[in-house]
């Protein structure tokens, strides 16, 4: 579904990604793990067009993502839940969800998508008229995921969904990712919380200092000694 080939990217003179190749097949859940500053967020931003790579290619179901204007990439079926959620704090929950359905195709079935998201997150229905910035971190994460789902995407990009949340809430977020997956959605998730993320994904890549260092099934990664020592603390 999504294919990256030897992608280089950075900010100005700072290089963040070096020759990253990665693929996600339809229906899969794929994780990208690695330490802080490894380039995980850059990877997400390159896929959704917030920054453009200096080299390499990205294709979504055969369409060249790099030739698509950034605001049209969501129309290819890629929805990105950004790092730190990035909700519109002084917009209501419903207006935030409305923004997720801005593109014409999603606008046409807005009521239907809203119902879908409210079914998934009944809490959002209760809080639909509340300012998004006044909710708890966990609720904001639900709202951010809901906003991305409003566009009826094929591929959901999740950037550190567990960051800054209490352990109990982190548990809920990963439960949620499982539920979203079971609905048939393809998921690419970037996480520092290695132990948890490897429970929900099929495969994972290890990204260190801007390069893919290892990849394999989630079980294999969990058993890998170097990963266990570096990221699982055992």
């Amino acid at each position: 579904m999504l294919e990256l080939k030897s992608v280089d990217a950075g900010y100005g003179s700072f290089h963040a990604l070096f020759g990253v190749s990665l693929d996600v097949k339809a229906g899969e859940a794929v994780g990208v793990i690695g330490p802080n500053g490894a380039g995980k967020t850059t990877l997400m931003r390159v896929i959704s067009g917030l920054i453009r790579p200096t080299k390499g290619s990205i294709a979504m179901q055969g369409t060249d993502v790099l030739k698509t204007p950034a605001h049209k990439i969501v129309e290819l079926g890629i929805a990105h839940v950004p790092e730190n959620r990035r909700l519109f704090p002084r917009l209501t929950v419903e207006d935030n969800l409305k923004m997720g359905a801005f593109m014409p195709a999603a606008r046409a079935k807005f009521a239907q998508r809203l119902e879908f998201v409210f079914d998934l997150f009944p809490r959002m229905k209760e809080r639909r008229n509340q300012m998004a910035g006044t909710m708890s971190g966990g609720e904001q994460q639900m709202c951010a995921i809901g906003r991305a789902l409003m566009s009826d995407p094929k591929l959901l990009l999740l950037d550190e969904p567990s960051a800054g949340l209490a352990p109990v809430v982190v548990q809920q977020v990963f439960e949620l990712v499982k539920r979203i997956r079971s609905g048939g959605l393809t998921v690419l998730i970037v996480e520092q919380n290695v132990q948890q993320v490897l429970q929900v994904v099929d495969r994972a890549y290890l990204l260190e200092a801007g390069s893919i260092r290892a990849s394999g099934s989630a079980e294999a990664m969990l058993k890998d000694d170097s990963i266990r020592q570096a990221y699982l603390g055992v």
Partner: protein, 290 residues
């Protein structure tokens, strides 16, 4: 004696409210541009001036009726607003704020000079005299009532647009986080053009209303520009509700101040109040607590 004074007072209060409506409309337009695009259109009142000339020529030269000319004037100034963004603001979006300020300041002088050359420095009058409405012992000019009513309708229309439509919601969202708008599928460049056109349309509406009360000349913008800017600053730049409240506050000070002596003293009081408030609440009346 006291009774007559009470009537004058009531009349002044009501006239203040009527004036506040138009000032609130002007402040809304300027706040919209500032809040969304993060640029101050110093030349905002000059757009109003161009709209007033548009009304003058359509009504006086082409013999159009006031109500036929008004929508055209609004569209004209809306187009001018979009053009201003496209030609001047868009290339300077990432420039230092002082450069943006200087550029729109430059546009102010360009428009004034253009009007001087093209239309001359004569004071022009629309030639429409609306009746005076007498309510008991109080007198209100019909043009002010019309201006207040139309300004209110205009502001309600903007409110509905901003809260009910996808584009309006995007305009509000963009002012809160412009980097991620692309993730929502929003083309920020397009939204900026729409916002500029909307700001222009509000200036156009204000022009249609003010041309009933004031003569047009190339420097008429100076009568509304500075005060609109002060209202926006007093309400907190970019804060729509703050601008609305500040507009009526200012209008009442001008109107009531004018009651006790000349109208000019009303303006002096209003400006003195502004300076005082800048010491007490420098971030604006309804400043958001950080």
């Amino acid at each position: 004696m006291l009774e007559i004074f009470d009537i004058y007072l009531l009349e002044a209060v009501i006239n203040g409210i009527l004036l506040g409506g138009v000032l609130a409309l002007l402040a809304l337009g300027l706040n919209l541009i500032f809040g969304v695009i993060d640029v101050t259109w110093i030349c905002y009142a000059e757009l109003v001036m161009i709209g007033m000339y548009g009304m003058y020529y359509m009504v006086q030269y082409f013999g159009m009726s006031y109500y036929a000319a008004a929508p055209i004037a609004i569209l004209l100034v809306a187009a001018l607003g979009a053009l201003l963004h496209f030609l001047v603001i868009a290339p300077l979006l990432d420039a230092a704020p002082i450069n943006q300020l200087l550029a729109t300041g430059g546009v102010l002088f360009v428009l004034q000079s253009f009007a001087t050359v093209a239309f001359g420095i004569d004071f022009r009058n629309l030639g429409i005299r609306l009746p005076i409405l007498a309510m008991g012992d109080m007198h209100f000019s019909y043009s002010r009532l019309l201006a207040f009513g139309a300004a209110l309708v205009g502001m309600i229309a903007v409110y509905i647009f901003m809260t009910r439509t996808f584009t309006g919601t995007a305009i509000r969202a963009i002012s809160q986080d412009r980097q991620i708008m692309a993730l929502m599928g929003v083309d920020t460049k397009k939204i900026y053009i729409y916002t500029s056109a909307l700001g222009g349309a509000l200036a156009g509406l204000a022009a249609c209303l003010l041309v009933l009360q004031y003569d047009v000349h190339p420097f008429v913008g100076l009568s509304f520009g500075p005060i609109t800017f002060l209202i926006c600053v007093l309400g907190g730049l970019g804060n729509f509700v703050g601008g609305f409240v500040a507009a009526f506050l200012f209008a009442e000070i001008i109107s009531l101040g004018g009651l006790f002596s000349d109208l000019e003293w009303g303006y002096v009081l209003a400006f003195a109040f502004f300076i005082l408030m800048m010491f007490i609440r420098p971030a604006g009346l309804l400043a958001r607590r950080s």
